[in-house]
Symmetry: C2
Amino acid sequence: MESRNLDGLLVIGNAEHNPPMTYLTGGGHVSHAVLLKKRGYPAMLFCNQMEREEAAKSGLEIVPLAVVPIRQLLKDTASEMFIRAGLTAGRVGAYGRTDVSAVILALSELQNSLPRLRFVGEDMDDNIFLRAMEIKDQAEVERIRRVGRITTEVVGLVADYLTSRDMHPDDEILLDEAGAPLTVGTVKSRINLWLAERGLEAPEGFIFAVGRDAGIPHSVGNPEDLLRLGQTIVFDIFPAEAGGGYFYDFTRTWSLGYATPEAQQLYDQVKTVYDKVCDNLDLNAPFKDYQRLACEEFEKNGHSTPLTNPSSVEGYVHSLGHGLGLNLHERPWSSLSADESNRLRPGMVITIEPGLYYPEKGLGVRIEDTYHIRPDGMMERLADYPYDFVLPMKKSKN
Amino acid sequence: MESRNLDGLLVIGNAEHNPPMTYLTGGGHVSHAVLLKKRGYPAMLFCNQMEREEAAKSGLEIVPLAVVPIRQLLKDTASEMFIRAGLTAGRVGAYGRTDVSAVILALSELQNSLPRLRFVGEDMDDNIFLRAMEIKDQAEVERIRRVGRITTEVVGLVADYLTSRDMHPDDEILLDEAGAPLTVGTVKSRINLWLAERGLEAPEGFIFAVGRDAGIPHSVGNPEDLLRLGQTIVFDIFPAEAGGGYFYDFTRTWSLGYATPEAQQLYDQVKTVYDKVCDNLDLNAPFKDYQRLACEEFEKNGHSTPLTNPSSVEGYVHSLGHGLGLNLHERPWSSLSADESNRLRPGMVITIEPGLYYPEKGLGVRIEDTYHIRPDGMMERLADYPYDFVLPMKKSKN
C-alpha cells in the first residue's frame, strides 16, 4: 500500500468469484460484503448478519450489519463503516468484482460525506492485488497442481471417448452411443459432467472448437457442429475449484484418425516453438522476451505475428502466456507491450501457449501447459499429458 | 433512458454472469467487452477481435478491437470508442459486473479526455436494467420454468437418495454406500453432479444446512456435518442455466424419519403463513404488503419479525421474496422499506419464501417456490413439488 501511496483499501462484493475478496477472506458464501483496511491496521469485514458464520471463517474481524453491506454503502450511514475502520481521509484504492453502477453511485455519495477521502482505481492488469497474488506459496501451488491433475484426467476421458466412437459408414463422421452423429454440444455436456464429478467447475466455460471455429482463438465451438476425422480440434480447458478457487489452463489440439499434411505441418511448427520456449525459460527474464522469441520463430516459417502485424487475424495472433491463480489471467504478462516488471520469478505459475490460426482454411493449433517456477529456478510442468496430434480411432469404419 | 435523464449507456464486462451485458447481448463467450449506446441509436459492442464471431451472435453492431476493449478504456484512445458511438457529452449510466478498480480508473481518465461527459451510477436495487428485466416475456418465463422443472427433479433425487440410506445400528446417523457416515459434503457433491448432468450450474452455490446451520438463513452448510434422523435440513437450491442464464429459486425443509414436536410446530406455522400469502396475492398490490402480512402472522405465534425487531437473528429474519431472472435476486422487492413501485405486475417472476430460525436450538424452517404472475392475473407456481416435512426412511434401522 505504501508503494502505491494508498492509505486504505476498500474491497467490495462476494467472497466467491471475486479474486481480491477471495484472496483476503479465503472464500465462502459471503455476498455483497465490504472490506475496509486502513494502512497498518487489520482489515474489517462488514457482512450481512445472516452470513456472519460464513464470514467468521475468514479469520478477519467481522462486523455484522442488519442490511446488506454493499447497500449500506448507499445510505446516509455509509460513512459509519469508514469511521469505524478509522478511514476518513486519504487515498483509498477500491477493488472487487461487483455491480459497477452501484459502486459509482456509492463512491460519489461517500465522497460528499467524507470529502477528505479520495477513491482511486488501478490498471486491471497491474493492481496491488495482482502484485500480491503473483508469487504463490507452496499451498497455492499444490491447489493448482491438484486442479491440473483433475483437468488432465478429464482431457484423457475426452480423448478415450472420442477415439472409441463408431463412424458413419459413408463418411467420416463420429457417432454417439445411439448411432446418431455426435455433436460438439454432446461432448461439451460430458466434459461439464466429468468436471463436476471431480469437484471442478468451468466458470469461464471452455473451448472445444472444430474446423473454422478452431481457427478463431476464442471461439468456444458451435454445439451443433459434428466431429469428423482429419479435422483440427482445439480443446482449451480452464476449470477452477468449485466455488471460485484456483484455476488451471491447458490446451491440446487433436486430429482424429489422421491429419492433413497442412494441419500436421502447422502442428509441428507450434510444437517446435513450444519446445524452444520451454527449453529456454530463464529465471528473472522478462516474460515478453519469450513472446518475442515465439514471434521470431513463427515468422521464420512465414506466419504473421504481433511483432510485425499486431492486428492480423491469421498466423500467431495472441500472446505467449500469462500468470494464473485465483484469476484465470493475471500477472505476469507476456505481451510485447508488457513492462519489464513482468519477469519470471520463483513462486510464479504461468502458462505457455503458442498457436497458429487460419480460420478461412478451418485450421487452428494451440498447445498449452501450466508451469510453476520453482524456488530453485526449475520450470515444473504442473500436470503431464501427451502431445499427440493425431489420435488413432480404436474401431475401424463400419 | 429518458425517465432517468440518461444520454447514453456504458455496459462493461463479460457477456456471461453479468446480467446487464447478458440481457443486451444474449450471452456467449465475449469477455471484457464494452457496449456503448447513445439514446435513440442502436448499441455498439466493442469486443476483442478473437471473440468477434461469438460477439456477432448478439445481433448487435460489432466493432472488433486488437486490444481487449476494457483495457482500451484505459488508453489514450479510449475516447475514440465514445466518439465512434456519438457519445461525447451528457449523462452516461455505467453498468456491468466487472473489475471495480479498473472501471474507476478508466472513468476518471475518460472524464479528462471528454470533459462534457458525466458518468453516473444507480442504486443496485433499482437501476434501468432491473426495471427493464422486471417484466418477462413468454420465452423468458419458459426458460425459468425449464430450470424449475430440472431443479425439482434434482430435489426429488436428493430426497430419494437420503431416504434410501442405511442407518447406523446404535444411533440415527445415515450411512453412505460404503457404510461410512454420510456427510453433507457428499450430498452436496451429488447435487452438483445431478445439476451438471442436466445442463444447470450453481453459480452462487446452494444451501444444504442441518442443525444449528439450518437456523442461520444463509449458512450454506458444513461439509463435515453428518445427517441424523429428526433434525431439520434446510435445502435451498438456486441454480441457473449453464453459462450465466436464468435462475430458479426453491427451498424445502425436511426432517428425516420423524420430527421433534418443536420442529413440526415451526414447520406448520411457516406452511400456514406460506399458504396464506399465496392465497392472497393480488395483481398490482405492493409486494411489501405480503411481507407485512407474513410478519403479522408470525408475530401472532410469538416470533420476532422485521416489523418490530429488524435486527433480530431469531424468528422471521428476512424478507418474503424477490424477483428472479438473469439475477437470482432482482426487482420487485418485498422488504418493508421497498418503495411502492415494487408491485405484483403481469409478467413478473417472484419467489415466496417465509421462514423461521432458531440457531441456538438447531432449528430452521423455510419453504420457497417461484411464481409467475400471468398476464391474466393468475399466480402460477413454475414447478410443483410436495410439501412433506417428515420424509419417511425406506429401510428400517439395521
